[in-house]
Symmetry: C2
C-alpha cells in the first residue's frame, strides 16, 4: 500500500510538498520540529515507536534508570503539530528516481527526503563477536547487558568452582571513548558498591571491571590532563585500565588482547561504529565507515532534495576534521535541514552552507565525578559531575522525565542503590551454566 | 551441587535450623522478614531476582508505570539481614523425606519449608487460549499486553482496510473481577484519551474496550450498589460491559462468547487462576484449583514442619468461606508462619491457629475513580480513588518507588499521558499483518 496524501489536515487543501524523514533520533526529530510551521506535510518514519536519549543509555545498562524515562513515544512529541505524521515502519529501500521510500509492502512518496538512520556497532570484520560482546546503541542492547551483568552475579553466588566464580564476576569494556569510560565506571560502581551486603557466598568487592583501549590513551577527544584525571577516577572506583592493547579475539568465555587473556562473563563493545545502510539505499558515495559524503548543504551530491544527517552523514569542518558523531551535531544538522527545506520550498535557496558549532565534551565517571571541556572551561570531579547532571537533565524531554531522573540520581548518590535491577525474563539463562 | 550450610555468617557457629522459603512474593518475603531475628538460617528461593507488587501490574500493562518501580531486587530487601540468603533458582521438585528442595542440579536442604509459589492463569481446559489471551501475573505478561496494545494502534494507522482497522482498535478483557475491571478501565483511558491527537489516520475515540463476565455481575467481592457504581464509571470511560456471557472460544482474531463474536487484536485473560504445582511436589491433597489443603497452622497435614501459604494454600475462614487469594492474606500467612517456626524452634509450640483478618476490598476504575469497601466504610468516585492511591503508595517498598509512583500518577491525572509507552522490540510484529 502507498500512504500518499494521507494526513487528514491536508486532504481538503491544495497538495503541499511532502517531506519524509527517516529516523526518529536526535537528527530526525529536530528536522521535523524545524518544519512544524513550514507549509509542508512531514512524515517521520522510525522502526521503533520511541525517541531514545542515547547519552543516558549506559545508565539503563547498569540498572540506574528504567528505559521509559529516556525513551519517549515519537507520537507524543508531535501530538500538537498536525502537519507531522508519525509512521512506525522499518525501511528497507529507497527509490530516488520515483521519489519513494519503502519498507515491505508499504511505500511512502516524498518530494524532499531526510535520511537520519544513525549508526550501529562495528566489530572490525569480526561480526561473530557481536553475540559475545553486545554494543550499546538500543534499549534492547542495554537490556541485554543489564541482564548479563545481574545474572552473572546470581550464578556466581550459586557456584562452588572458584575459576567459574571469578569469570562470572569479571566484566570487560572494549573501547576507551566516552561510552566505554561511562560504562566501565557505572559497572564498577554497580558490582563493587551497590552489590555489597547483598551476597552471602561471594564478595562483590572482589569483582573486576576491565577497560581496554587500543590507542595510546583513553578519552582522545579530551585534552591529556583531563583524560588523565578521568583515568585516576576510574582506577579509584576499581576499574583496571589498559591502553595500547588491541582486542584480537572475543568468544563465549572472554577476551584476548595482545598477549593478555581476560576470562569474563560480561563483555561490552564500545570500540567502533559503522553507519546505517543509507549509502547503499541511496547509491551514494560513502566514507570508510559507510557514512554518506554530503555536500555543504548536507544534501547528496546531485540530489539537492535528498539530505543525510547525523551519524550517517560524512562532512568535514573548515579545519578538515570530520564533524563528530555526537547528539549536538545531529541536532544542529536537523535544524539546518529543516530550514534549508523551508527555504527551498519558499523558492529562495539562499541559506548559507551548514556550519557545525562544537559545544564541548562531557564524560562522567561513576556517580559523583565527571570531566567537562567547553571552550576554555575545564571542570572535573564533583563540579564536573554537577555540570554533567544539569546538562543532561536539561536536554531530557518532558518535566516528568527530568523530575524522575533527578530524584533517581539524588537517591543513587546517597544510597548507592540501583533501582532498575529487574532480570526481565526471570529464568536462569541456558547459554552456559558454569559450575552449576 | 548442594548449597548446605553456606551462609558465611553461620559457618563459625553451631548449626542452626535451616528454613527454606520458596517464592519471593508477598507471602515468602513476609515469612523471611518475620524470621529475620529468629535463631535460624533462612534461604529465600525465587526463579526471578525481584519481588513484584502485583496489584499495580495492570499499570505496567497499560503503559502508566515502568516495571522497575513495582519490582524490587529481593537481595536489596534483605541486604541488612545477614541470616537471610537469597538464591535465584527455579524449583522443580521437593523431597519431603530427605528434606530437600531442588532445581536442576542444585539441591537445598531444609529443616523447615515454606512453599509460597503463588498461582497462574487457568483457561478452563483450553490451554491453547493462553497464546491469544495472555493473563496478568508477571512482568513479562504485562510487557506482552502493553506491546500488543501499542503495536495494534501503530498497525491500525498503517492499514486502509476498515475491517482490519476496527479489529486492531478493539480490546477484550475476559473476567469482571478487580483485575479485569482495572485492566478494562486503564485500556479504555489509554486508547480513547491518551492516544487522542497522536494519530492522523485513525480516530482513537472510535476504539472499543469490551469487558466480558460470565457471572451475573462484575466485582462479586463487592456489595451490589458499589459494583453498580463501578460499572457506571467503566461505561463513562467507554467500556462496553457484558455480564452472563461465557467465553466459548479464543483464537488469533478475537473472542466468541454466547451468541456474540468480538473481533479483537488484544485479548486479556482475567477470568481464572490455578495454583502452582506445590501439591504435586509435596504429594499433598489439593482443592479444585490445585491449592494445597493446609491445617489450621498452615502446615501440610502430617508434616508440621512444611507450610504452604498465599495463593497456593487452601484454608477456610470460621464462616466456611475460603481465605481469598489476595496480597493481605498472603502477608498475614507469611507473618504467621514466621512466628510459628520461631515458636517451634524455641520448643514452645503454643501459637494459636491462623486467623485471617479481612481488611477490605478496593478496585480502581481509570485514573480518578475507585470503589473501596472496608468494614462499614464504603467510598466511591474521587474519594475512593484517593484512598486507593494512598493505600497502594503506602504498601510500595522504598521511598524512591513511592515518590516516583506518586509523581507519575499526579502527572498522569493532569495530562492523561502515559510515560511507559516503549515497544521494547522495535520491529513490527510478524505474527499477523492485516491489511498491510
Amino acid at each position: 500500500m502507498s500512504i500518499e496524501n494521507s494526513a487528514p489536515s491536508t486532504s481538503s487543501l491544495a497538495r503541499r510538498p511532502k517531506v519524509v524523514v527517516v529516523g526518529g533520533g536526535f537528527g530526525g526529530v529536530e528536522t521535523a520540529k524545524a518544519l512544524a510551521r513550514a507549509p509542508v506535510d512531514v512524515t517521520l518514519i522510525d522502526r521503533r515507536n520511541f525517541h531514545l536519549f542515547q547519552p543516558l543509555l549506559y545508565q539503563v545498562a547498569t540498572a540506574v534508570l528504567p528505559p521509559s524515562v529516556i525513551a519517549w513515544p515519537i507520537r507524543s512529541i508531535f501530538a500538537g503539530r498536525p502537519n507531522v505524521e508519525v509512521v512506525m515502519l522499518e525501511i528497507d529501500r529507497i527509490d530516488c528516481e520515483r521519489g519513494l521510500v519503502a519498507g515491505g509492502p508499504v511505500t511512502v512518496p516524498f518530494d524532499y527526503l531526510v535520511v537520519a538512520t544513525g549508526a550501529t556497532h562495528a566489530y572490525f570484520g569480526h561480526d561473530i563477536w557481536a553475540s559475545f560482546a553486545p554494543g550499546l546503541k538500543s534499549v534492547s542492547d542495554a537490556g541485554k547487558i543489564r541482564e548479563r551483568l545481574l545474572r552473572a552475579f546470581e550464578r556466581a553466588e550459586l557456584t562452588n568452582d572458584p575459576t567459574a566464580r571469578a569469570r562470572l564476576m569479571t566484566a570487560v569494556v572494549v573501547g576507551g571513548g566516552a561510552t566505554g569510560v561511562e560504562m566501565a565506571g557505572a559497572i564498577a560502581e554497580l558490582t563493587r558498591s551497590s552489590f555489597v551486603n547483598e551476597f552471602r557466598r561471594v564478595d562483590p568487592r572482589k569483582s573486576r571491571t576491565i577497560l581496554i583501549e587500543a590507542g595510546p590513551r583513553i578519552l582522545p577527544a579530551f585534552q591529556e590532563p583531563l583524560a588523565a584525571l578521568a583515568r585516576r577516577s576510574l582506577e579509584k572506583l576499581g576499574v583496571e585500565v589498559y591502553v595500547k592493547l588491541a582486542v584480537t579475539e572475543c568468544d563465549g568465555s572472554g577476551v584476548s588482547a595482545g598477549d593478555k587473556r581476560f576470562e569474563a562473563e560480561t563483555v561490552v563493545w564500545a570500540a567502533g561504529v559503522k553507519a546505517s545502510p543509507a549509502a547503499t539505499w541511496l547509491k551514494a558515495a560513502a566514507d570508510g565507515v559507510g557514512r554518506v559524503k554530503v555536500d555543504e548543504y548536507l544534501s547528496v551530491p546531485g540530489a539537492p532534495h535528498i539530505f543525510v544527517i547525523g551519524d550517517t552523514a560524512s562532512i568535514a569542518m573548515p579545519d578538515g576534521k570530520p564533524v563528530p558523531g555526537v547528539a549536538p551535531a545531529a541536532k544542529q544538522m536537523g535544524t539546518y535541514v529543516g530550514q534549508r527545506i523551508a527555504d527551498l520550498v519558499a523558492g529562495k535557496g539562499n541559506l548559507p552552507p551548514f556550519r557545525y558549532h562544537h559545544q564541548g565534551d562531557l564524560a562522567t565517571i561513576g556517580r559523583s565525578s565527571a570531566i567537562v571541556s567547553m571552550g576554555r572551561l575545564k571542570l572535573s570531579g564533583m563540579a564536573g559531575w554537577l555540570t554533567w547532571c544539569l546538562a543532561h537533565i536539561f536536554f531530557l524531554i518532558g518535566f516528568r522525565s527530568r523530575l524522575i531522573v533527578s530524584i533517581t540520581w539524588i537517591w543513587n548518590f546517597f544510597t548507592m542503590r540501583r533501582g532498575a535491577r529487574i532480570i526481565e525474563d526471570g529464568e536462569l539463562g541456558s547459554h552456559d551454566s558454569n559450575g552449576m
